[in-house]
Structure formats: structure tokens, C-alpha cells
Symmetry: D2
Subunit: 367 residues, 4 copies
């Protein structure tokens, strides 16, 4: 299959450009009998959408999703689920100046070289706007995973520029526009963002995401490991430049005695592995983190060239996020949900014979 | 397709366990007319194989690969290429004690929960020994990429435990068992490893890998981005816990003015992106890094449980690498070659109409 | 990928039910630079749509397709092309009686057993209405194949009930609602259909389809042969029960001296193979034929059961085609176009190195 | 994935040429816990292998299969199963004359045009010899389907040249080299074949194949229908030119009242559908038939050209089957087993939530 489909048994195919008439997705392979409606998906869409605080892009999008197929009398039927989000705010005149220009840090140049053409209206297909339908599609997976398996998926902002953030308070994450789990540091973040916006510059971020109550056994060695597919999924989000699972890059400096997660009859004593061993889930929390680069669209002039190779100065004046990482948390959650859903269906397809019963040990983690 | 196949148009399917009769791979989709023989593949296999220095496992394996099909009169025919490596050193008696034991940090527990059974001889399918055939398969891709496109792929050890290593001297990388590009620091590494071996502990590492002369245009947005597939590929290597592209996790703390790679008619002025924008290669060097956890098989006792959930003490006495990262460089190179090869064929399948001609700008990098 | 996607490199994913809000398709992998608009696709849609003669269903559907993405300034961009056809005629009240009934010859029973539920409105996902978006998607492939490679794809009605029909006059095929290539027999067909409609019964049909100017080399042995993929494609059309290539079932009674297509410097002397040898196109015309069963929805009562296993009498009163084969010709053409397009892109991805140049022999056929 | 892999969740990848060192297959996705050994697979291999009667090729092949991986202590582990059959009878000198010649009816010309090269030793990859490993791989699926689900798969010769054969006696099918189910007609078949051999000509055939006790619900609409995948599978067998399901091509002349399989509480009253409705199994017998062309390698001279386009006379003197259809029955069974196995795993992956319980009606067939 071509590049716009994700998954093997539970698949999501997306289409649409930032300034075209609509974005859409086809979710195929969803088990029948799941109660789902537009409202179920709207919550996460609203968490991702721009313009909800002064710290994100002021582009106005309703991001209202319609379910076009695959749901009958309120339940999935097993048929593919068509999802559609119409674009409202298509001020394409804003983008006319850049039609022959390659903006640094954008996909303009690489698309041009690949396709010999590009939809220059606001990034077209390369725009992060495409992730809206990922969030909608992921919402279906999340609902299934939660209702049928009790799997909870949560993300949080773990770093904003140079400010590292701990996850201290789950409940607070969804009560602030940063998805920050340290509520006492919100004033610091707001001040930082206000200063940044004033400067005209942008900044990177990192986002953590985890899944609880994942049953052991998900993941297909050797290539389609759960962790490898998570890496694929998160790295496919716009602006992501790094992905780690569990102890991640810190593992490089660890000793075996420190890293290996010892096991007792009461459960694992630590979770440096991040919930997978040999690419298969262990029942521990699946924990990943991703790093996002700073927005390339900034007001501070930069050097570039046009399609003729001539030097040009670039200044971006549109409505852009000074930190794309802020709105990335629901996207990371959606992608993790898609990976888990696909692997759950694959696992039960291949291994439903196995009398897995109760896992040998509980998944308790004592860090 | 199931979990043991990598790629879409240029695919590699592997099979085999560490202590079974043989490991193998099927390479499908290789263009016809490539001159290839066993000797072409043996070089990288020898770089990866154990027992070549005192710092790696003393297991003795010839790792001699046979080509069973797909090559006729010294050239590929377009038919699938069957590769086979017979296992020589199958001392399965070493492993009898662990048949009911879950070794911490190993895939024992997750395989058991997934499959209800496991091949306990030395890790079976989850052993890093499986990567031998990846290296052989990757060798085919490397030869094609080099001969037809001039793409050079090189890896190096970028961190050994807490010792960070720069890449100062390409030529030296292949002249030492560490794949270290700072030859003056070899005594330091040797002393470190000797101490580690004495202590019975193990340590993590990180490995960098890059590709030069990659043409612009490789990668399929939005899910099968070049960078996302590299993340998938590298994270699918045993023990890898993190992957980054270009500036990677440092991007999180960078400003847009710093990160965006400005463009001039003479080329890009920096390469924080790591060679891809919007998931498509730009012509710059593709640069990635991966972190590997420390070997879990160590002599120092650890707590675990058996298949009945009863507590057990684990001590590993076999012939293991104290740092799996040391031998991982050729594997990373092979996986990067597989990703590039697959995307090159996909790209030309979809975009051969495009008169790409000379890229608009050269790919010169001035960091 | 799941069951609603066709193709590997040029893929089509469809969604939508006969009585839902819309049908849609995502066409992924289309090369950039192809001029395409809605009008280009509408022609084939109009050829397929119901209600254009008294011999087909009187359901009224505009079957107007909208292109939602992947086309910019009149040309494809390489991004996925979203297609949408809104359903106009959704008289779902017609179908209320059958919600608990399994209609003989329909997918009611098999869907119910598979999914535990079904969208009973007019067949839902199993309705031939789904093929409308296949025709739209196929139209993109057809245009590419014709403009870039000169490949012409044509279908015709080769049998209506017991009436066998030759293809004598290409030009006439599109001038009658039967896609009949023997214009002098039209009165016979009309009389036959009028009698059939009066009787309340339905009848089967067979449809031929061929492609001219197919370059040699398309098809991937050993499983994804061109002929095997054509068989897959045609058998995936509703009501199709048989597919043959070239001499097809007549081959069983042929001798080798008769069947083998001898070759001369002027070309092949016959085309019993139907344009493929070893699953790869030879440059001869690709010729296939498919048999369609009679419509199961008829006015004549039949025995069945309901979801409780109780016996029921079934009488269908809706607006149905007395012969689904009549409208199947554009669908067969679309599916053949999709197969050829996918294989053309795969072939050039894998074999663009081959200096194919002029085929060794011309493809002239002298039957 | 490339062209040498079949299936999505239960996949088979084959490699090897007729006169190379070995043929092989990788079976991926097999559930763990299936007892399997070489002897289980050898039976079907022996049924397919040449030289067992005077009516087939006199090539001598042991066709002994080795299991290289994926089986531990006599049971599948869930890891990929490597299968290897070494070629014994590689008299490549027989083929030296044809290295520049295109034999009519063979893949010589199409491979040459596609790949610019070909392995001319006895057909290389295009040889029916490749089907040996399909039979071995299919044996794994057959054993699973039989032991876990009670599915029986049987094939029979339904036509030899112009001689049509009924299936009257299942038990006799495996007791004669023709797989003929009308034992009283064996002398007729033998006389026919003896005459054919004397004449130097060859003849086509058709083979039927069926599966009993298939549970309802297998098959994925709309493209990966069970019947469409069967068509794909059977048409991928060398020399097959037509495939039909149930009433097949006879459907074209049938009326709806005749074709639709009425349903009663005791079961379906007929099986014109061939066991699928809407592409999903109904619980009835799955019945298919395929037509095979006559062998192209015959002693009677024929016209052809060489790679320079110059005319040549072709006479084949090797050891060839005068009717490839005779040995095709086990191959058809194997391919049907692969399709059913793949769809069973996919079905239970997607639909294990559905409380299918007892089918609404039994699958009794009263033709």
C-alpha cells in the first residue's frame, strides 16, 4: 500500500490538504459492535484544534468531524468508517507570495524535488493540519481499547524549550492548554510563551505518552515490534525528530544491573524497558517520548532560495504556532492508540488459541 | 503481511532461531542486473560477527552466507534472493537451566505470554543472532545504492556507556573492533571494557549512522516518511530504546532561528533536519542515531520468577557481549540501506515521470 | 491492510453504504502531473449509473463525484486523491421489512454471521452501489494509462442469459445501454429483457474486457502475476462467479499445438494466452472475461429464514436490475485499469534500470 | 510487499528456481502450538511430485522438505517457519540450447522483456517446480484447519482434455495418479494419455477443489473477498487460465429463480454460490474449479524467435508432463488452504468480539 495508510489489520488512510475543501480518513478493520458517534471523537479534536488559547495558532477551525459510513444505528458494523472534516478557514491569499519560494525547515523543497510540483497553500499535504483526522481516527481506537480492554492512553508535555516538566498530576493535564502535568509551573510556561511570541521566534518541545493496562503479548517480532511501530507512528507526526521508549537515550549510559527490570512474584520492580521486551508488551505501562523541532514559520527573516535557485529572504507572517509541540499531545495519544489497536487485532488473530488467562505476574511498577 | 517482513517494494523476510539449524532471509524486489555474490555480503557479516575481539561474545560462528536463488551467472535476475546462514555453534546444553525461567530484560516473559510457549535455547527468535541475515540482506541493498546511485552508508559508535565519542576520522572506524571514529581514544575504550568485563556487568551504547549522496525525493508522506521508516527500522534492532534524526532530542530546546536550516544557492547552511523535510529526503546527508540498552545477560545475580510465578535468582554464565552496542554498527547500516532501497524503488515507481534533473540546489552542508 | 484497499503501490480504498450519506474512495500513489478533473471521471460514472434505460434499476442517482484532495491547479500532486459521491436516493423505508430477514443470494446471512450485525438498508456495504467509486477511481488510472502509455481499455457484453454475443463493432458498444458490440442484435436483447422484466425473474450475463497497447513486462511472479491480480480484481466485483484469461476454460480441452501461441518476427500468431505468459504481460492484448450471476432480488417469491432461524417467504419489490451484468462493463474496465496501473508503477519501480527499449517483437495478433 | 508473498496475516513467501540449489518458503503468522513435522508435509509433496507414474514428467526429485525454524519440540512457536527443498535433478545441460530462444507458451519472452535477463535453466523461477514449496507451506495450513476447525480440503481432476469427469467417489481420488473420482474411467484416461504421449502433443485439464466445514464469516469485503482471494490464489498457479466459484460460468445463463440458493431452517437448498455470499463464507462447502492450459513443452516443432528477433524452430525434448493438470490437484488444495487460513486468522482478529455461537442455520446442501 502507498504512504498514506497506517496499520495492517486496523488501518487508517488519510487524505486532504490544509487549504483544500476537506480532510478525511478511512478507518478499516474496526470490529463491529462498538458504539461510536461524532461526539465521541470531537473531544480529542477540540483538544488538538488551534485557536483555543493565545499560545497556539489563531487559525479558526471548527474541526467538526462527520462519520460517513461504517456506523449503523450507533454501532460499528465492521465496514470501513469514512471520516470527513471540512476546512473552514482557507485564506489562500495569505500564501500566494510563497508559491515559488522554498521556506527553510518546511517540506517545500523536498516536495518540489519529489513531485515536480506542490500545493503551496499553507503547506498542503505536509501541513500539521492533516493530523486532525488522525486524532479522529485514533479516537475510535481509543474508545475500543478503553471499553473492551481497559487500556488508558494519556500524553503530557514533558519539555517546552529548555523547560523540562515532570508529570506530577494527571488530572491537571487536560485543564491547561499546554497539557502540562505540573500545574504550579503554568505561570512560568505562559510567561515563556509570551516572551517567545514577542520575539517572533519559535521553540521545540517534547511530549510523553503512555498506555496503562496493556495486556502482555502485543507486538510482532522481529520487524513489526510494538516499540518499532510506536517509533514509526510517533516519528510520522510532523516536526518529530526523536522517539524513545522507556529509559530511551539514557539507556546508553546505564549498566545492566541498573537497566534490567528485575521481576518478583509481585511484578516488575522497575520499567526501564518502557513496557516491551523483545518488541512484545509485558503488561507494564507502555511509555514513550518524542521530541519536536521548533516551528519553522517565524517572523524573523531567514535566507532561502526560490524554484529558480535564486536567493530570497523569507519572513512568515501567517497565523502559526510558536511551538507546535503544545498541540501535539492529542496526536501522540492518537498514534499510540492506532498502534495498540492494530497489534491487538493482529495478536488475537494469530494467537487466540493460546490460553493466555491471567498473566504470570501482575504488572505493578515500583520505580 | 506478518511481522517478519520489512519493506514494501524491496522486502526482506527473515526466519531462524539462534540455536536452530539455520537463519535465513528472502530478499524480494531486487532489480535485475546487479552483480552480486557471497563474497560481497561476507564483509559486513564479518564486521558484525562475534568473537573477533575480546570485547564481544566468544561464541564462534562462521556466519557464512549462501545465496540459494535469484542470482544467475553472477547477476540478480529480479527473482527473490534466498539467503542462508547455517548455525555452527549450537551448544544448547548451556541453556537447559533456563527453560522455565524468565530472565530479566529478555523477551522470555513476553514471548511466553504471547505464544504460550517459547524456544528457550539462547533466546530463540528474539536473539540478536537474527540480525546476521539482516546484515546479509542489507549488503545487497548497499551494493545497489552505492553502484547505481553513489550512496554511501556509514555507521560509528557514538557513545559507549558514559563515554561520548565524536566522529573525527572516517577511515579509522573500520580499523578497530568498536567502530570508533576517534582512534586516539581506543585505549580508553579498551580499559573501560576490560574493567566492565571484570565486574560482570554490562553497559549501553549509542550508534550513529548516515547516508551520503541520497537523492532528494525519497520518502512517502504522510505515514511512510523516510524518517519514520528509519525510526521503525532502527527501533526494530534488538536492544534499541531510542532513535533520533538530525538534531533529534536537542531540537526540543532549540529556537526556530537556530534549528531551521537556511538555504542559499550554494546549498543548505546546516543540517539539523538530518536530511529530511516533511519526511522526504532533501539531498543532504541522512543522519540518525540510536541508543541501545545494556546487555541483560550478566554474571551478577538478579531477581526473577519462573513460569509458575515463583521467585528465582538469575545468573547468566554463557558467552555474551558485555555491550551489544559494539557490534550494532553494521546492523544499523544494513537497516538504513534497506529503508533507502525500498524508498528509492517506491519513489521511482511513483515519480519516474517527474523530470527531476539536477536538484535546484546542491546539498553542501556548512555546519 | 484490511479488506477495503486494492493495490500495492497505486492503491484504492473505498468506503460507504448504499443508503448511507455518501460513498468515497482514496486513491493513493498516483503520479504527479496528471491533468484530471471531475468531468474526466463523470463519463464512466454516467455509463455505470442506474436509470439510464428501462432495462436497469430505476433508482435515481446523480453519481456526481467530487475531488476533495490530491489535485491542485488541475493536476495531480502525488498526494492521495479523495473522491466523494453523495447518495441522493435513500428511500430506506423500502427496506424496513427485511431488517430481520436473510434474502437468498444476498450477503445478508454471511454478513450477519461474520459481524453479528448488518446495515440492512439496501445491502449496505455489500450493495453493488459501492462500485460507483471504483469506477471513479479507475477513471484516474485509465486517463494516466491512455495519456502516458497509450493503453486503451474496453469492455463489452459477451453474454446475456443464454444469448452469446460477439464483439463485431467497437464503436457501437458505447451507443447502446447493453454495451453490446453487435448492434444488429439489439432488438433481440430488448425483447429478451422486456420479457424477463415481465416475468419478474432475473438473468446472468458475462462481460469481456481487454486492454490494448499494454507494454511487455507488467506483473510480478509468482503470486502477484498480472493474470492472478486480474482474477482477483474481477472476482471482487459483486455477482461475479467466474473469471478467465485468454482461452480460459476452453484451454482445458485444447492441445498444446493449438494453444501455444507461436511467435514470428512479425509478432505472435495467436493470443490464447490472453496477453500474459508466466504472469507477465507480453505486449499482446490483455483479454479477460467474467461471468455474473443473475440478480437475487426478484419479484418471484422464494423461501428463506429470518435471524431467528424461522422460515419466511421473500418477495423483493424494490427497484432492481433484472440483469446486473448490463451495468457491469464500466466496472470491469475500471478494475482492469487499477490492476494495470498498479503493476505499471511496481514494474518501473523495480525494473527502471532495464533498458527495455523496443520489444523484441511487435504484438501483432493474427487469430 | 513484493510479488513472491501470499497472504496478509498468514503469509507465505517463496523463493528458488527449478535448476538452482534449492527451493524454499517462509511461512509467517502461524499460530503457536500446532504439532507439525516434516512427515506431515511430505505426504502432499509426494502426491505432487513428478515421476510417480508414466503419465507425468520423468524428472526424479525426492522433494524432501526440511523445517529450518519456527518449530520447537515438535510444535510451532509463532515464529516464522523456514522450509527448504533441495533440488536433486539439475541436468542443466539439457537447457543450454534454449538460452537465447523464446519457447512459445513459456515465460521466456515476458521475463526477458521485464528483467532484461532470465535464468534459462528449465524455466528458472517460472517453472511449476516452484509449486513444490507451496504444497509444503499449504500442508501447515491444512493441518491447522483440519485439527482446529475440522475443515477438510479435497481436490479432483474434473476434466482431462475433452474428457469431463464427475466426482463420484471421494475415496478413489487418492488411489490413482490422475486424482480421478470416477475409478471406472481410469482405463479410458490411461489410454488417452498413452496416445497423447505417442503423438508428442500435450493437453489441458481442469481441476476442482472444495473445502467442507468452513465456518461462516470468512472473507473481507469488498476487495479481499474470500472468492476473490481464491481466484487470485488459483490463477497464480502455473498454466491456470480460468477460475470459477460455485456455478461459475454457468451462472451467466441462469435465471434468478434457478441460481439463488433458497434457505430453509434445515439449511440451504442448493449451492450455486459455491459457499460464499458477498465474498463471505456461508458455512456451505466452498467449491471452485480451475482450467489449466496444455503444456507448452512438446516434441512437435513450432515457430518462434530468438532474443535477436530472428525466426527459430522450437522442439522440446526434455522430460515434461504431457498434461500439467494431472499433478495440479495438490497445488490447488494447498492454495485453497492458504486462503482459508489467512482469512480465518484475519476474521478472528477483527471479529473475535462477535458471539457467533452456532450458525443460524446448518450448512446442509440438497442439490
Amino acid at each position: 500500500m502507498s504512504g498514506n495508510t497506517f496499520g495492517r489489520l486496523f488501518t487508517v488512510t488519510t487524505f486532504g490538504e490544509s487549504h483544500g475543501p476537506a480532510l478525511g480518513a478511512v478507518v478499516d478493520g474496526c470490529p463491529p459492535g462498538l458504539a461510536i458517534n461524532e461526539a465521541d471523537l470531537q473531544g480529542d479534536l477540540d483538544r488538538r484544534k488551534p485557536g483555543t488559547s493565545r499560545h497556539t495558532s489563531q487559525r479558526r477551525e471548527g474541526d467538526e468531524v462527520r462519520i460517513l459510513s461504517g456506523v449503523f444505528e450507533g454501532q460499528t458494523t465492521g465496514a470501513p468508517i469514512g471520516l470527513l472534516i471540512e476546512n473552514m478557514d482557507q485564506r489562500s491569499k495569505d500564501y500566494s507570495k510563497i508559491s515559488e519560494l522554498f521556506r527553510p525547515g518546511h517540506a517545500d523543497y523536498s516536495y518540489w524535488q519529489k513531485y515536480g510540483t506542490r500545493d503551496y497553500r499553507g503547506g498542503g499535504r505536509s501541513s500539521a493540519r492533516e493530523t486532525a483526522v488522525r486524532v479522529a481516527a485514533g479516537g475510535i481506537a481509543r474508545k475500543y481499547l478503553l471499553e473492551r480492554l481497559g487500556i488508558e492512553i494519556r500524553g503530557w508535555l514533558s519539555q517546552l524549550g529548555s523547560i523540562e516538566l515532570a508529570l506530577e498530576d494527571w488530572a491537571s493535564v487536560d485543564t491547561n492548554p499546554f497539557f502540562c502535568g505540573q500545574p504550579e509551573r503554568l505561570p512560568e510556561l505562559e510567561a515563556y510563551m509570551d516572551g517567545l511570541r514577542k520575539s517572533g521566534d519559535s521553540v521545540g518541545a517534547s511530549v510523553g505518552v503512555m498506555a496503562r493496562n496493556v495486556p502482555p503479548g502485543l507486538g510482532e517480532p522481529v520487524f513489526d515490534r510494538l516499540d518499532a511501530d510506536i517509533a514509526h507512528a510517533l516519528m510520522s507526526i510532523n516536526a518529530v525528530r526523536g522517539v524513545e521508549i522507556g529509559a530511551g537515550f539514557e539507556s546508553a549510559a546505564q549498566k545492566g544491573t541498573e537497566h534490567r527490570d528485575e521481576i518478583t512474584p509481585e511484578g516488575f520492580l522497575s520499567n526501564h524497558a518502557g513496557g516491551t521486551l523483545g518488541g512484545i508488551s509485558t503488561g507494564q505501562d507502555v511509555v514513550a517520548r518524542m521530541a519536536l523541532k521548533p516551528t519553522s514559520s517565524i517572523r524573523i527573516p531567514g535566507r532561502s532560495v526560490d524554484i529558480h535557485g535564486d536567493p530570497q529572504e523569507v519572513v512568515t507572517t501567517g497565523r502559526h504556532d510558536p511551538c507546535v509541540g503544545i498541540r501535539a499531545t492529542p496526536i501522540a495519544e492518537a498514534m499510540l492508540a492506532l498502534v495498540l489497536m492494530d497489534h491487538y487485532l493482529r495478536h488475537r488473530g494469530q494467537n487466540a488459541d493460546v490460553d493466555s488467562g491471567t498473566p504470570v505476574i501482575p504488572a505493578r511498577v515500583d520505580d
